[in-house]
Subunit: 186 residues, 2 copies
C-alpha cells in the first residue's frame, strides 16, 4: 500500500478525492448539522451533538455524543459551569478558521508548524437586559489575530488568510445575515 | 439573612440589582469576551476561554480555563476529536436562547419546569471547498424548535419567545452582520 499523501495532518489524497466526488455529484456537498440543547438550571444548559447528514447519507462515524456546557459567570447570574454563549461564538469562529487555513495550506503544499488565534469581541448588555435596543444585542465587533509559524514567504500566508476569509462558513455566518426560523412546539 | 428571591435557578434580586446598577452607570454594561485557539493537527483545534472584562473590571471568578475541542468527522477529513465549528454555532445559539428565556421568565415570575431546543442547519460545501462562491459558505438557514414545559398560558410563552428573539446576543450575531477584523501577526 503506498504511503498516504499527508500534510499538516490532512490526507491530501482524500481532500482531492472529496473535491472530485462533489464535482461529479454536487448533491454530495449538501449537509445538515444538528444539536439538541437542554436547560439544566439558571444560566446552565447542555448541548448534545452527534448525528448529521452529509455526502449523501446519515453519518455513522460517531459512536458517542459530544456534550458542550453553557453557563454564565457569577457577574451575569450564573455559576461558571461552562463558557457563555458569546464566548462559544469565538470558539466556533477560530475553530472554523483553523480548519480552513490548515486544509487549504495542505492543498497548496504549505507546511504549517504552528497556528493559533487570539479573539476578542465587544458586547454591551443594554439590549439583552431590555434597557435599550441600542447598542445591538450581539457583538458590536470582533477582532481576531492569526499567529502562524511556517517557512513560506509572508505574502503566501497573507494570501491564504484572505482566501480563508472568503470561504469560512462561520466567518460568513457572523459577517452576513443568516435566516433563523424559530418555532415553539405545542 | 432573608431567603434569596430565586426562580428557575436565577437570583431575581441580583438580576434587578444588575439592571439598576447599569441604569445608574451605563458603562457597567460594556463587556469584552475573549478566546485563544490553538491548532493541534489536521482539523483539530482547542480553544481556551477564561478571562473577560465586564461590569467595570477584569473578571476574577474563574480559577481555571474552559477548554473546547473542535474537529471534523472523517467524511470531512477529521478524527471526531470534537464537534465541528458550525455545530458549535448551533450550541452557541441554543445556549444563548436558553439563558434569555430563563432569565426573562424569572424576571416575569414565570416558573419553567423544562426547556429544550432542537436545532438543524443546512450547509453546502461548494464554497468551503473553493468549487463555487454559491451557495454561500455558511448556513443557508437554521431551524430551531423550543420545547417548553410551564403552567402559564401558551400566549405568555409565545410572547416570551418573541421577546427573547429581539434581545438574544447570539441570535443577533447570526441574523445580522457583525464586523470582524482579521489580522495576521508578524
Amino acid at each position: 500500500m503506498p504511503a498516504q499523501n499527508t500534510l499538516n495532518g490532512v490526507n491530501v489524497d482524500q481532500l482531492v478525492g472529496t473535491i472530485e466526488a462533489i464535482k461529479a455529484n454536487p448533491d454530495l456537498a449538501k449537509f445538515k448539522f444538528r444539536a439538541k440543547t437542554e436547560w439544566i438550571n439558571g444560566g446552565h444548559s447542555r448541548t448534545r451533538i452527534q448525528s448529521f447528514y452529509g455526502a449523501g447519507s446519515e453519518d455513522a462515524s460517531r459512536s458517542e455524543s459530544f456534550y458542550l456546557e453553557g453557563d454564565e459567570p457569577p457577574v451575569l447570574l450564573g455559576k461558571n459551569a461552562g463558557p457563555n454563549a458569546v464566548e462559544a461564538v469565538l470558539h466556533a469562529l477560530a475553530s472554523c478558521l483553523s480548519v480552513g487555513f490548515i486544509y487549504n495550506a495542505a492543498a497548496q503544499g504549505i507546511q504549517v508548524e504552528a497556528l493559533s488565534f487570539d479573539l476578542e469581541g465587544d458586547l454591551d448588555l443594554h439590549a439583552f437586559l431590555g434597557l435599550s435596543d441600542k447598542p445591538r444585542p450581539g457583538y458590536e465587533n470582533i477582532r481576531i489575530t492569526y499567529h502562524v509559524k511556517s517557512d513560506v514567504p509572508r505574502e503566501k500566508l497573507v494570501a491564504l488568510c484572505d482566501y480563508v476569509q472568503k470561504t469560512s462558513p462561520v466567518l460568513d455566518i457572523i459577517r452576513n445575515p443568516v435566516p433563523v426560523i424559530v418555532n415553539l412546539a405545542n
